[in-house]
């Protein structure tokens, strides 16, 4: 997106009416609403998993190994250890959500700080910050993540940490671009001329305009994060077994794709549904928070 076309999107704090307009715009996007409903349902189900799950997700049944879906007692079938797929999907969601949300939140905050510095002081400290981030940016994402996970051992904290490190440069970039544009915006110039300190300018003038960009970026990428986290599980770097992890479940089922395709298909579909819902919500938010797009579409 070039500077000239993005700038009008962020020319002032959203007044209450604008907020209402944004909400209305979001509600008009049917798919985004469906996405929100799906995600809400998924969160409720996840929270209630211990109550509604038909089985213990780690308890296998030797006599019911690789039972196909729609069998009595196992609506989604069982895996190679005779564990109920539905139970594992439900409990797996308890990992999938934090694995997607926490890294985005962590990277969002760090990226916000680094990006604002990078964009505002772009001739001094900011330049250095952005150069360092360029380095992280240039290292293949997958390699960075795998190396960190290999160094720290597998598990949820590792996944969260390495994903945060990997996505921080991206968020910082978005923030720095927006900040650089705002820096020369009239209302920031005005604030500077009135003698406000940098701290106040950051807090009052820049932050409120940068946050929507981060929120939109974060939400649109949340779907990718669900997929990315599954990649860790797939490579055996995710949660400690027997904790159900969607990516690890796909890897498990890959071996029996021909004889028991459901073992890897079911978690794959779960990932697609959640990622898709996030993507639609992200789209809806982007349109709603960008008045220019709102009027056009």
């Amino acid at each position: 997106m070039s500077a000239a076309t993005t700038a009008p999107a962020v020319t002032g704090e959203l007044p209450r009416s604008a907020r209402r307009q944004a909400l209305a715009a979001f509600m008009r996007d049917r798919m985004a609403v469906v996405g929100v409903v799906v995600l809400l349902l998924a969160v409720i189900v996840t929270v209630l998993a211990p109550l509604i799950s038909p089985y213990d997700p780690t308890e296998g049944d030797d006599d019911n190994i690789l039972v196909p879906p729609f069998s009595p007692g196992h609506i989604l079938g069982t895996d190679t250890q005779g564990r109920d797929m539905l139970a594992r999907i439900l409990f797996g969601a308890r990992l999938a959500f934090p694995e997607a949300i926490i890294p985005v939140a962590v990277a969002g905050i760090i990226g916000l700080i680094l990006g604002m510095i990078g964009g505002y002081y772009h001739r001094t400290v900011g330049e250095a910050v952005m150069r360092v981030l360029d380095v992280l940016f240039a290292i293949p994402m997958v390699l960075l993540a795998i190396a960190i996970a290999a160094a720290l051992g597998s598990g949820l904290p590792t996944v969260v940490l390495s994903m945060s490190i990997v996505i921080t440069p991206y968020i910082a970039r978005v923030v720095s671009t927006t900040t650089a544009q705002l820096r020369s915006a009239t209302f920031v110039e005005a604030a500077r001329v009135s003698g406000f300190g940098d701290g106040r300018i950051f807090w009052r003038e820049i932050l409120p305009h940068v946050i929507p960009a981060v929120v939109v970026y974060g939400t649109t990428n949340m779907g990718a994060m669900v997929v990315f986290a599954a990649g860790f599980g797939f490579l055996g770097l995710g949660a400690q077994p027997p904790t159900p992890d969607w990516g690890a479940m796909i890897a498990d089922g890959m071996h029996s794709l021909d004889s028991a395709p459901w073992v890897s298909t079911v978690p794959g579909i779960a990932i697609v549904i959640i990622a898709l819902a996030f993507n639609y919500v992200g789209d809806g938010l982007r349109v709603a928070l960008d008045p220019r797009l709102r009027t056009r579409l």
Binding site: M1, S2, A3, A4, R131, V132, D134, V135, L136, A138, I139, P140, M141, V142, L143, L144, I146, A147, I148, A150, A151, L152, G223, V227, A230, G231, F234, G247, I250, M254, L257, D258, P261, S264, T265, G268, I271, V272, A275, L276, N279, Y280, L293, R296, L297
Partner: protein, 317 residues
Amino acid sequence: MLAYTAQRVLSIIPTLIGVSLVTFGLLHLVPGGPALAMLGMAASDPKAVAAVTKELGLDRSLPEQYWIWLKRAVTGNFGTSTEFHVPVTALLFPKLEHTLILTAGSLFYAVVLGLMVGITTALYHRSLYDRLAMLLTLIGASAPVFWIGLLLIYLFAIRLGWLPALGMASPLGPPTVLGVLKHLILPAFANSIISLAVIARIVRSGMMEALVQPYILAARARGLPRWRQVVVHAFRNVLPDAINITGLQVGFLFGGALFVEVVFGWPGLGYLIYSSIQARDYVTLQAAVLIVSAAFIFVNLVADLARMALDPREARS
């Protein structure tokens, strides 16, 4: 423009040094060094492990090790792989070539299909076709690549038997161009899906924006044929954004080929990086990461310059 280009090219150097430093530091955080990987279960004798560690020069201080590496790397000597005992350059370049082939194939899908889908959905937007196409690309982009790859293999290689499931060429007989192209179809498609979706969506929204601009409306009023309105006028407006995003995607396609390479047994750089981590082959890893990063930076630079050349507003700012 020329000064800017020179400055950008020069700025690659410190970034690459930074990349090599971070990689170096990262590798030494990973437990179990090359000595252990080389000895495997034979590491029963701590003295033997120490002797091999010394032989590899890994008993020196980290700054010293890095300095030695850097001095050699500058002269083009990247050392000998501890896993295969062959010079790293001899190991890397064939793999680089394979990954470039995969990247090119993926790019072909991403650009051609991405543009096609993006333009047509913009023209017929809100039609059933538009909705369906957007849903499908979004589903593709929301699914793990390794999973999509698996489904493609299952469907087209195992069930239907139309396409080969793995590798770059049939192991029997010499490789042929046609054979490689045939082997490229599935992995390149799997690798391209996310980029395809991204390009399609950018092009679609850009086109939709452009199609209601006054000059298009004017062109329409002048009775210009629809395809000229679309191709010549509207598309030209979208082009800078499309090139920019494509440039970014090249980097992703190149660096992100790992999963596809593993699932399709494609002997490329991503897979080499993955197996080098497992073998703690630091020597190979350092060089491989440097190449991937350099390619990534270079591609971004070219995309930037191309966009500037096409969009004069950008060049002035």
